[in-house]
Symmetry: C2
Subunit: 338 residues, 2 copies
């Protein structure tokens, strides 16, 4: 089959790779209906995270189950499924407490930018849709598998809700969908931090009430100005850099909540600043699987349209163009069709 | 009047200082019934925090109101009062949200190791007891003004409660009272981390079910061993060093809560470790004022005896001995009687 493989920074190729097989009785093999490029794929693509030999890429996916292992009870061949980038057994104490992304048997999914993929712990990882989705729902269902679920977690971790002012640092797909999530969770006011016209527009469409174009300390000052000098109740951090983390912490009022979902790279936080900021800090790999039933329901009923973050739609064979467009921020998010 | 003044690291003297005056209409002046030495007083005493000229010491206090400013409405002369180390107006949005220790008008109290003290924002800071306390209640009421309130906040921030396993890093007065708080909050299992026999004994008396003597990575391994390999649900950090913060984060299961109340000194946290630990982190200067009515009630009804942390009781004039005993860890906490 065909699959996208990163050979070195900047060198992504779609080539013949091995067909996935059931290797554990809890596995499923799915045929991808759609997949996409993640902001986190750009870390190795840019050479910021190391590339140790040819790496099959991709961890976002929707598709049709082709085959399941002998121990899979709930997921059946022929079902259309959505899964998370972090596989989970669904039965351990950590899964049951609402954190499947830290499941004791977690594996980070890889190799879904391909025609087929093996999904470990199929029963605990995959959620079947009510039926075969209409074509227009596919991008939104695909978004649920990572960027929507991650933005949602960011908003939940930041305790977005009625009466709250929520600020979102980062205008990538995750940040934009954190805006959508905050809106769904009932936030009163949503401040999107963005300096790109097309992203500002989408943020407003998703529910942002205010746009802040300043960054760093100036961005913090602007958020404080908008919140009576106190800072936002809830801040979602959806970038993962030193600047964005500090911007998030400093934009939050004492007693407020920071939900951080940007994969942190070379970030260090000073203990005394965290101490005196008196914020709540929570984040990490999003427990997407926990939210999937609800998110699929919202999408199926056309109450939310997270698929709008895909502003580039290419056949899988043109993955290199997709990576390039996202790297250069010409695309918010690129969908790939195997 | 007499008051304790730190002149240089290790050089604490009780000497003649100016009598406090009402300087703002919201002030009160109290006559101290008892005061004490705080673990955080040891930072400048040890020269770890800078000493910039002679510094009046002390921020824990109980006493009788002598005088109030013209704008003080609720606190009256003659009342026995307990206050917090962080003064608060009690009316700002941050106070009303439950974080008086980050009040927009907060002042960190100082100079209570003395015969009298000026307390800013008396109405928002002080809580009167139901009457004049019996002598045996005074140490416990004094504990409420900082170490009990701080340990309580640590346990609340760590979300200690029914069904939870709580670990406490630090066996100073705050750590020991976090054990008491966790017990009061209904925790199922409480692991005290201590290698000092007298502190272990008090921890057990306050409700600890397990004692772990190992520190650092070995301490983490021991907590994991006691919690099915997962880590505790709730961990209170009550020291404030790099080692203790990492020990706390690493002893917590994914999705669990770290309440950190040790004043952080030279601590840095790696963003990626926090990210993948998936813990909740919350702490800072404890919003003691929020808890005082409940804590005073528990003490007044003799349901809790936090005053047991005072294992040294000296006249104010012997403050130097009190500092020395705490510095050398010969005393858990020293009470001073003006």
């Amino acid at each position: 089959m065909r699959g996208a493989v990163l050979h070195a920074p900047g060198d992504i190729r779609v080539e013949e790779v091995e067909n996935p097989q059931i290797t554990a009785p809890t596995d499923a093999v799915i045929r991808l209906a759609a997949t996409c490029v993640c902001g986190s794929d750009l870390w190795p693509y840019r050479g910021i995270a190391p590339v140790e030999g040819p790496t099959p890429m991709g961890h976002e996916y929707v598709g049709v189950v082709e085959e399941v292992g002998s121990a899979v009870e709930h997921i059946k061949p022929g079902q259309f499924v959505v899964g998370s980038f972090a596989t989970s057994d669904g039965t351990c104490e950590i899964c049951l407490s609402g954190y499947p992304s830290s499941c004791v048997h977690r594996v980070f999914q890889s190799g879904t930018q391909a025609e087929r993929a093996r999904i470990p712990h199929a029963d605990g990882t995959l959620v079947a849709t009510p039926g075969m989705p209409d074509d227009d729902l596919v991008p939104s269902l695909l978004a649920a598998s990572d960027v929507l679920g991650t933005g949602w977690f960011g908003a939940v971790a930041a305790e977005a809700g009625p009466g709250k002012t929520v600020a979102v640092v980062g205008d990538g797909a995750v940040g934009l969908l954190a805006v959508l999530a905050a809106k769904q969770l009932g936030a009163e006011r949503i401040i999107a931090m963005s300096r790109h016209a097309s992203r500002q527009k989408l943020a407003s469409e998703f529910g942002a009430t205010d746009i802040v174009t300043e960054r760093g300390d100036e961005g913090v000052a602007r958020v404080k100005e908008l919140t009576g000098g106190l800072g936002a109740h809830s801040v979602v951090e959806a970038v993962g850099t030193q600047e964005s983390m500090l911007q998030a912490v400093r934009s939050t009022r004492p007693g407020g909540h920071v939900g951080f979902v940007g994969v942190n790279h070379d970030v260090t936080l000073a203990g005394d600043e965290l101490f005196f900021s008196q914020v709540h800090l929570h984040g990490g790999p999003a427990p997407v699987r926990q939210y999937l039933p609800h998110l699929i329901d919202l999408i199926w009923n056309r109450e939310i349209h997270p698929g709008k973050v895909f502003d580039l739609d290419l056949p899988l064979d043109r993955a290199a163009e997709a990576y390039q467009a996202m790297d250069e921020r010409r695309a918010i998010k690129a969908l790939l069709r195997p």
